[in-house]
Point group: C2
Chain length 362, copies 2
């Protein structure tokens, strides 16, 4: 990557991408609304599916979008902060789960298949060298972040590189055709990073937005809260500088997802946001370029309490509330299926006229 950057500043790729994020196509959205209102159903009776269909028309700038190519990006990385005992699972689970993704045995594999999506698994910072596989994209920024309780999780340069890696991963897959994406992640310790990011940007207390992650007990939760507070105190991330926040208390997979979200929006591709960690990435992306919000679809509201705070802050209303807290992109997979259903309503239903059905009594 160094070669490509000759003569360019470090942020150029990110700036170029965000510059391509435009507003939605409101004219086509109005036309979509007219079509929705002409379909054989009481006005507005398919509720949020109708809103979703309209949003996807606006994003894609296509009158009759088809969500044929569905991709879930599941990015994995490790977190140095795990040495503080913030997680219920040992650190090596990150790598083990990547192999599980590659073999197709994880929750995301099952739900992505159910929704007709393919999963792109990316090692963006797992702490060990993973066996190469055609099913695994390797874009390592480092062997896990450093312990944020002691200093910055990564350098500013690494934070930028993680975002750029996400952009590059998206652009590579985009060549094969993408109509909608979902975000996903795996990284033991990453709810700690997500909580820290959320606290810094929203100004809410660490206690309010820190949950049990994969399942720490009461004592573990108390420790986790203390560590997050310490990380914020030690690093003093600047909420006005999204890259600063990402570098000091973030993670490589979170940075990568920021890049994927920005890149998707720049290519007019709807982004279905998964749970809390994906939400933290969405928050960083939103802080870099607020216009990206219109491209986001919140799949669900996680059990992780900080997630609701993120969604409210950005202004996103989740589609599902199924007490999920797995991550990986599992909620996004279900959200993609709803988006697909919504678009089919718009494009496949008969109109009152075509079906010869009487309209409402005036």
């Amino acid at each position: 990557m160094q070669d490509k950057r000759k003569g360019k500043s470090l942020m150029d790729k990110i700036k170029e991408t965000t510059a391509n994020i435009k507003g939605l196509d409101t004219k086509l959205m109005e036309e979509a609304q007219e079509r929705l209102d002409s379909l054989t159903k009481p006005l507005g009776s398919l509720g949020r599916l109708e809103e979703l269909a309209k949003q996807i028309v606006g994003i894609s700038a296509k009158e009759s979008p088809k969500l044929k190519n569905k991709v879930i990006f599941t990015l994995a990385a490790d977190h140095g902060v795990t040495e503080e005992g913030v997680s219920a699972y040992p650190k090596e689970v990150t790598a083990q789960m990547v192999y599980n993704f590659v073999r197709g045995g994880a929750g995301i594999n099952v739900l992505a298949k159910h929704s007709g999506a393919r999963v792109v698994v990316v090692d963006i910072g797992v702490a060990e060298d993973l066996k190469s596989s055609p099913e695994l994209v390797i874009r390592k920024i480092g062997y896990g972040t450093k312990n944020m309780a002691k200093g910055p999780a990564m350098t500013r340069d690494e934070a930028i590189k993680s975002i750029e890696a996400g952009i590059a991963v998206f652009e590579e897959e985009f060549k094969k055709g993408i109509d909608i994406i979902g975000t996903g992640e795996m990284g033991i310790g990453n709810t700690t990073a997500a909580s820290a990011i959320t606290a810094v940007f929203t100004g809410r207390s660490v206690e309010e937005l820190t949950g049990r992650g994969a399942g720490v007990d009461d004592k573990g939760l108390k420790n986790k809260i203390e560590i997050i507070k310490k990380a914020i105190k030690v690093n003093q991330p600047d909420p006005k500088d999204a890259i600063d926040v990402l570098s000091k208390v973030g993670g490589f997979e979170i940075g990568g997802l920021v890049g994927i979200i920005l890149a998707a929006a720049s290519k007019k591709v709807p982004v279905v946001i998964d749970g809390f960690i994906s939400g933290a990435a969405a928050l960083v992306a939103y802080k870099i370029e607020p216009k990206v919000k219109d491209y986001m679809i919140a799949a669900h509201c996680s059990v992780e309490i900080g997630h609701r705070i993120i969604l409210d802050y950005i202004g996103l209303k989740p589609l599902l509330d199924l007490d999920l807290r797995l991550g990986e992109g599992t909620g996004a997979a279900l959200g993609i299926s709803l988006a697909d259903a919504a678009v089919k309503i718009l494009t496949q239903m008969a109109t009152f006229k075509s079906a010869n059905v009487s309209e409402k009594i005036k």
Copy 2:
């Protein structure tokens, strides 16, 4: 049907069906829980999907259920009470929409296809003779109900026949293979019937549980409430006698759905309940045989305010909350897709052992 009933009392078929509704297989449910807990994900992290998978194991009494054959029953009938101006759409829309179902242009066709379900359309009481078609099951109990504001919507005999017709329709389709069903309906005026049924059984006020249906305005809503009150006053349905309530303020499609729900439960088939009218049918079925509750999956919570009251009364928690209010089985179609996803989680994910992933730190 008369011949078959010789020597049998009118209620025999219903009694025979309800007698076959047993409790769920709790032993298999415990085993399903053990398997869920062994899968590569934090304990319980797939929330309601896990509960759903377990419930379906208990219902089907199969260790590894497969939801291959998915059927949505969409029953159509007319309502005499429409002559009181309770609906925003003219009565002839019921028949027009049945033709739309048969041609595949309605919301339910699109969403059922999306979820891999087939739609069985049943004329159980449309006010006109419909053109026969291989896509349409004709089981007419009458040409619409009578105006409940003036007297009983149907006779007790007709109410029983409508339930039996539902049982017969289910049993006929069951021969072709059914693993899960959804309920659906079409009938201009049927939110009026559903509101009346709900008021009688729950004791809540008509005002509290009457909504705008397909879209009446403020004046229309006020009139609708008055008519429902009048219907209850005129008919004095006995909440202790479910058949009495169905006959006096119900509808043929509601009775048919009662039969379908009871028959499905008797054959160990999970029933995904759609919106308000399906909910009213579920309520009648629950009043006939409370054990049927365990077989029910509430797909969503409708915009129709009475629906939430029904769900709370029976004790069902909806999966989706997407501001739907179309009926036809559209919400059930989406619910079936979630049920399918849930079962796949149970049956297709790797275990910690098989995937060689480390378990939680003790």
